[in-house]
């Protein structure tokens, strides 16, 4: 249970994020939900690499004890960078939509249908 706690929290954050994306009408909140899902995946990745009593994976300071897994941290970092790019893109889209439509509500942003 103690070991599984990060995974459970990751699942909870993901569910909150998906809930926000499905049930919120404001585009900004939808994007916040997306960021939450992303954070959940990041937490999941980092938790995968965790080991009890291990040190940071820095080669030159290695005292010979076990280290946490560096690969997942690299993956997380990549995902954070991608996430920043995505969020910036989505927010600038929202800004343009707000300017053109006068609203950032998902009910009004529906000119495309059929």
């Amino acid at each position: 249970m103690y070991y599984n706690l990060p995974f459970i929290i990751a699942a909870v954050i993901a569910v909150i994020g998906i809930g926000a994306m499905l049930f919120r009408r404001n585009l900004i909140k939808v994007i916040m939900g997306l960021s939450l899902v992303e954070a959940a995946v990041n937490l999941f990745l980092v938790a995968l690499g965790y080991r009890m009593d291990a040190i940071a994976p820095i080669f030159t300071n290695a005292p010979g004890t076990s280290m946490v897994l560096p690969t997942v941290q690299a993956m997380t970092l990549t995902n954070i960078v991608i996430g920043i790019a995505t969020t910036a893109l989505l927010l600038s889209f929202t800004m343009i939509i707000y300017k053109k439509y006068g609203s950032a509500n998902t009910d009004t942003v529906r000119k495309l249908r059929g």
Partner: protein
């Protein structure tokens, strides 16, 4: 859009430290946690601080969007250029052609526990610096563009 004199004076002072700290993180990316992206993000927050204190107009008067755009393009080109050089030296793309060569960043890594030497890592520090230059430009540009979208030219 500039704030009070106290804020502006404080921002002037803190900006130098933020810049120093950012470049420290960039330069030590191969030794300690951190690296190009994180350091670049720290430097970009310095510019955001200046924007907050003086307004985006004052910042653009001094630097201009072209300045940030150039730094973005320059960082990317240095990054991929470093990877390309390896091809012409007969190794594969992204190969670490500077490591253990004795030149800049070319020292071999000492074995065993040690605090780390800046002069190691081969192309990794160079790529970190390139990414740092790219990120500071890109993130500042994002903030500037978003501001110009909200302020309606203010």
């Amino acid at each position: 859009m500039s704030m009070s004199k106290i804020v502006r004076a404080a921002a002037d002072i803190i900006f130098v430290f933020i810049l120093t700290f950012g470049f420290y993180i960039v330069a030590h990316g191969h030794l300690t946690p951190g690296g190009g992206f994180q350091g670049g993000a720290v430097i970009a927050t310095g510019f955001v601080l200046l924007i907050a204190a003086y307004g985006s107009r004052a910042l653009l008067d001094r630097f201009g969007k072209e300045w940030f755009r150039s730094s973005e393009a320059l960082g990317l080109l240095v990054f991929i250029g470093t990877a390309f050089v390896a091809l012409f030296l007969g190794a594969t793309f992204f190969a670490n052609w500077l490591a253990n060569g004795g030149l800049i960043f070319g020292e071999a890594v000492a074995f065993g526990p040690n605090p780390g030497d800046l002069n190691t890592g081969g192309v990794i520090p160079i790529m970190n610096i390139a990414v740092g230059i790219e990120v500071l430009g890109a993130l500042s540009l994002i903030v500037l563009y978003m501001l110009s979208g909200t302020e309606e030219g203010a």
